[in-house]
Chain length 338, copies 2
């Protein structure tokens, strides 16, 4: 099957016996074209089923209508929902999103950023994998004047617009809820050192303890990976100590699920013996038994807002960077009921 030659504005011009310049103006609803010819052009372009060639428009306008999205992975509930949010806004504005997955590898992130063909991209959305201190690969891109917006895993060292959920408050609210539910010795199993979301959630955890005059036990703050297996192993470490906590706040629901599974294997009765709280509101948290108390992250809104912000940066180069923090909400479930 030979691919048909697409119709161009030249075809329309020839058909109507006018110049391509006039056709171009008519289609873009631009100046200097009479009502009558505009209508004739639009009708003809509909008849011929004309579609603009984005390579051509992009070449002259120096745009691509492409947005690069760089993130750790896509198969988690949180990130796939964020992408759905990004996609809805991008699509509405005629932009395509181009996915780049770092697979939680800082090296891959650098390679991806370095190999980006900036001339084919109007802007970039990033959720960091790499340590946020050394984001030279992103700073280089920004120095070239390419608009960039960070979401979720952001870096303080980068001066750019940022969109995130209320990590500090979410952590605070969950831990406070655990305390009010009667738990006094609350451990925190969290993510790798570096990302600002970790700092914020740890701070929320610490401040909640402080507010209720509970002492902080450094042994009970464990940094490891974001996944379910790490949740299991963190619990093993905690249970190797002489002092065991009576509640666990996990940095996300995947780790909380891992913790619950491990505790169940240890015949610990969740709720009665040990309370558990998570973060995100992954469907897993609602399905597992017992269901897990969590703070719902507004993933869809994070996606929508970071895309809208990026579009503003793209459309006006002097749009000033701003930080958007979106509230979530506490969802109480069985895992925090004594």
């Amino acid at each position: 099957m030979k691919r048909a030659r697409p119709v161009t504005i030249k075809d329309i011009a020839r058909e109507l016996n006018i110049s391509v310049a006039t056709v171009s103006r008519a289609i873009r609803n631009s100046y200097d074209v009479s009502e009558e010819t505009r209508n004739r052009v639009l009708e003809m372009s509909k008849d011929l089923n004309y579609r603009p060639n984005f390579n051509a428009t992009g070449l002259v306008n120096h745009t691509s209508h492409n947005i690069a999205v760089i993130l750790p992975h896509i198969t988690s509930y949180y990130f796939s929902t964020v992408i759905a949010g990004i996609q809805s806004i991008a699509y509405k504005n005629g932009y395509n999103i181009i996915l780049h997955l770092t697979d939680e590898s800082a090296e891959r992130e650098v390679i991806i950023a370095r190999d980006l063909s900036l001339s084919s991209i109007d802007g970039i959305l990033v959720s960091l994998t790499s340590k946020p201190e050394k984001c030279d690969h992103l700073k280089e891109i920004m120095n070239q004047g390419v608009p960039l917006v960070l979401f979720d895993r952001v870096a303080e060292s980068i001066h750019a617009s940022k969109v995130m959920q209320n990590d500090y408050e979410g952590a605070f609210v969950v831990v406070e809820h655990l305390i009010k539910s009667g738990y006094k010795n609350i451990a925190h199993i969290t993510g790798p050192h570096g990302p600002s979301i970790i700092k914020h959630r740890v701070n929320g955890y610490l401040d909640a303890l402080k507010k209720y005059n509970l002492t902080v036990n450094e042994e009970w703050i464990i940094h490891s990976e974001f996944n379910m297996l790490s949740g299991r192993e963190d619990v093993k470490k905690l249970w190797n100590n002489k002092n065991k906590p009576d509640a666990i706040f996990a940095v996300n629901d995947k780790k909380a699920v891992g913790a619950v599974l491990e505790l169940k294997e240890k015949k610990v009765v969740i709720g009665k013996d040990v309370g558990v709280g998570g973060f995100t509101n992954d469907p897993l948290a609602a399905i597992i038994s017992p269901s897990i108390t969590t703070y719902e992250a507004p993933a869809l809104e994070v996606g929508q807002q970071c895309c809208e912000l990026l579009l503003k940066h793209i459309k006006s180069s002097n749009f000033q960077p701003r930080e958007v923090v979106i509230k979530g909400r506490l969802i109480v479930r069985e895992s925090s009921k004594k």
Copy 2:
């Protein structure tokens, strides 16, 4: 921040005092250029950090290096994993993927297909939402010579390459496993009429019953949506009958989860009283208690293979359509143990 003018082959040519034609040939490692000048060009292009302008190359080559992916949604485990597979192959070959989500709406699918700017797309990957009998919107696209590959939810009426998991065998194996585990009255809660995966899985279910001389009860085959809520409601319907089944095979794990939750509310002991089997191996199936026996769909491979097939169609227009069926595997869990 003004966007910097990107370096072009003109810059390289001027710097080296040669023509742009030579630079172009050198970079593409093409004919008619000496070893020495090629090296000088490559070195200079690295020094200046040159990146090709895809709008320009696309304009002259009539390519975009873009692949459109049209699918029902992205937030499910299956589809997000398929996308990860597609993305890995596309990225490796220098292609971008452009997501289009139909949100399970046939109307949206038609609109998306109709509005696709075909001149900006080299090929299309589709998993259907619409009824597969009336796929005129896709046939029109194919008539224009645009390569198209279907995956998962395919349509028999379309003559194109197709990639899917072994739906028939998967259903057969799960139902056979239920039978061998001692269940005799097996219901099937499945998806909407139309998609071929539904037919295949229903046939697998029916043939397994037939093989073991179990009678088919039409009341026990319920068509509804793909989601968890439908799973719950299907069970309600089943339990409204005088004859209740002693096992349920669900078209996917989300419905199986819904069924399990509903059965638990009805105080039915899953496994002992009623066996449950699903399809996909969604993480939910492993986490829920009791965990659900299922057939693991090779989502990543489906994504990889359909993308590879599409690339072959793109590269040679006389590549003949083929159908690829990828095997999964039975995963036995608690929900099918008496």
